[in-house]
Amino acid sequence: MASIDEMKKVCSQVRRDIIRMTHLVNSGHPGGSLGCTEFMVALYWEIMDHNPAFNMSGENEDIFFLSNGHISPVFYSVLARSGYFPVDELKTFRKIDSRLQGHPATHEHLPGVRVASGSLGQGLSVAVGAALGKKQNNDSKLVYSLHGDGELQEGQNWEAFMFAAHHNIDNIIATIDRNDAQIDGRTKDVMDLGDLRQKVESFGWKTIDVADGNDLQSVIDGLQKAKAACGQGKPIAIILNTKMGYGVDFMHDKYQWHGKATNEEQTADALGQLEETLGDY
């Protein structure tokens, strides 16, 4: 088990990976990736009981689904840095013949990915199905998932919220990245989600709020609290308040960085703000 200081170092390196991966191919989604770094590192270094010697079924281990597939840079970096595949492979991101597709896929058999995502709003159903499958198999491990807040504009999520509560699926922890940002602007301006906590709770879920989703200790505490709440008949949602672009000053809380890579100058600026802790690939 890693210390907080060690995990903070991982976060810094993951952020460097995100900037470098997207810069190299001048495409991809750094904004949400940077915002979800603490969450992903906490999950893979502290919270989940998982096995980097990947097997698809994930039997007797905790498993994770990324529904907002566009933040693949943070997913790939975390998977590589936690041993799922060689870190060096990060340099193939979005290139021809790569296992690191623009959006996560199983088609190229990348270890750590259990379903394709990218077309938004589908991951919660899959995660709920996998959680139901674990129950069917008497597998006591948990299912984790991550969703963008803008993504909740897709109606399928609400079908999944209903289904999970109706079938008492209490072995899932679905986290919503509440950064109030999407491609076209602030989420409240594009399509207001209103009182998200109230909405999710009214669908029969227990919610846990993490006020600062970019504070590693807060994220770990929130996830531990969620774990403790499992097995009590209700599915769990974490509302994780993050800032898009966290860790790089000129990207901080700017929705314009949802899906845009940094140029040469910006890359140098960003990397200057992020310590190389584990070695660049």
Binding site: M56, S57, G58, E59, I63, A105, T106, H107, R114, V115, A116, S117, G118, S119, Q122, G123, L124, S125, V126, A127, V128, G129, A130, A131, L132, G133, K134, Q136, N137, D139, G155, Q156, E159, A160, M162, F163, H166, H167
Partner: protein, 320 residues
């Protein structure tokens, strides 16, 4: 080979009940089989399975998109999920969910679709999907099966549980002749030759198979020898059976309860034009939505009845 005249077309049964019987049998035989339904348990004949295995049956409510995703998730744990709803809601409504979460993700989900085509009848065009075979066969890795009667639908249901990978199984609501032998094991991708002939080949799927039997019997009265193929698997297509028959007869008719665009006829045309150009006539709905009415009235009005197959066969022969 049994003579076409010897098929008993008088005993009618619905293909959806064949699915229900197959699913019931699977429930007892394979504990990995789970079933999901979107508020149409009775219509899909899934009641027996639901009653026998309440812990392996999940009603999803009227929420098909979620049902497809949940099925994909269940399959990750080694379950074999069978989803059940009408063909329209099994395909068009959830195409992107099937595409990303099931087909592209290689999930072992069996999409079982009832009430396909215009023979759904009175509900009208909103429910009468005629594009589903096309949509499903375009998806890489998807197996597409359209059995012809009750017995074959039951056997196909058993067979797809043994097949690793996503499958689309299409069947219907009306009672149609149940003429294939009981308990004949279903071979995915292997066409059934119902009659050998020399003048024209009729390649049919689903309920158009028994209509083609009627047509072949009529054509024989005029001295026309029909080779009749039950092409129950649209994908992977038994191209060898098509080409072998076309070589022999030199004229082909396709017959399906589907749009002309994208269905069985299209697949046959592609095979013939690439490997052995042969006159082909297609019996299918021609770029049109359906409407309310009785199944036989609709088949007549939309040009997919016995007489249309006969006319198409004569036309194909004349084009040789």
């Amino acid at each position: 080979m049994k003579a076409l005249q010897d098929y008993d077309l008088s005993i009618a049964s619905d293909t959806r009940s064949g699915f229900g019987a197959g699913l019931t049998a699977l429930g007892a035989a394979n504990d990995k089989v789970v079933a999901l339904c979107a508020d149409l348990t009775g219509s899909l004949k899934m009641n027996e399975f639901a009653k026998n295995h309440p812990k392996r049956f999940f009603n999803c409510g009227v929420a098909e998109a979620n049902m497809m995703g949940v099925a994909a998730g269940l399959s990750i744990n080694g379950m074999i999920p069978f989803t059940g709803t009408f063909a329209n809601f099994s395909t068009g409504r959830v195409y992107d969910q099937i595409r990303q979460s099931i087909a592209y993700s290689h999930k072992n989900v069996k999409i079982c679709a009832s009430h396909a085509g215009i023979t759904l009848g009175e509900d009208g065009a909103t429910h009468q999907i005629l594009e589903d075979i096309g949509m499903m066969k375009m998806l890489p890795g998807m197996t597409v099966i359209v059995p012809c009667d009750y017995n074959q639908t039951k056997q196909a249901t058993l067979a797809i549980a043994e097949h690793e990978g996503p499958v689309y199984l299409r069947f219907g609501r009306p009672k149609v002749p149940n003429f294939t032998p009981e308990n004949t094991s279903f071979q995915i991708g292997k066409a059934d030759i119902l009659q050998e002939g020399t003048d024209v080949t009729i390649i049919a799927c689903g309920i158009m198979v028994w209509k083609s039997i009627e047509a072949a019997i009529e054509l024989a009265k005029d001295g026309i020898s029909v080779e009749l193929i039950n092409m129950h698997t649209i994908k992977p297509l038994d191209t060898e059976a098509i080409l072998k028959s076309a070589e022999k007869t030199g004229a082909v008719v396709s017959a399906e309860e589907h749009q002309r665009h994208g269905g069985l006829g299209d697949a046959v045309a592609q095979t013939l034009s690439m490997h052995r150009p042969t006159p082909l006539e297609m019996v299918a709905v021609n770029d049109s939505f359906g409407e309310s009415g009785k199944p036989d009235q609709l088949m007549q009005k939309y040009g997919i009845n016995t007489e249309h197959i006969i006319a198409a066969a004569q036309k194909a022969i004349n084009r040789k």
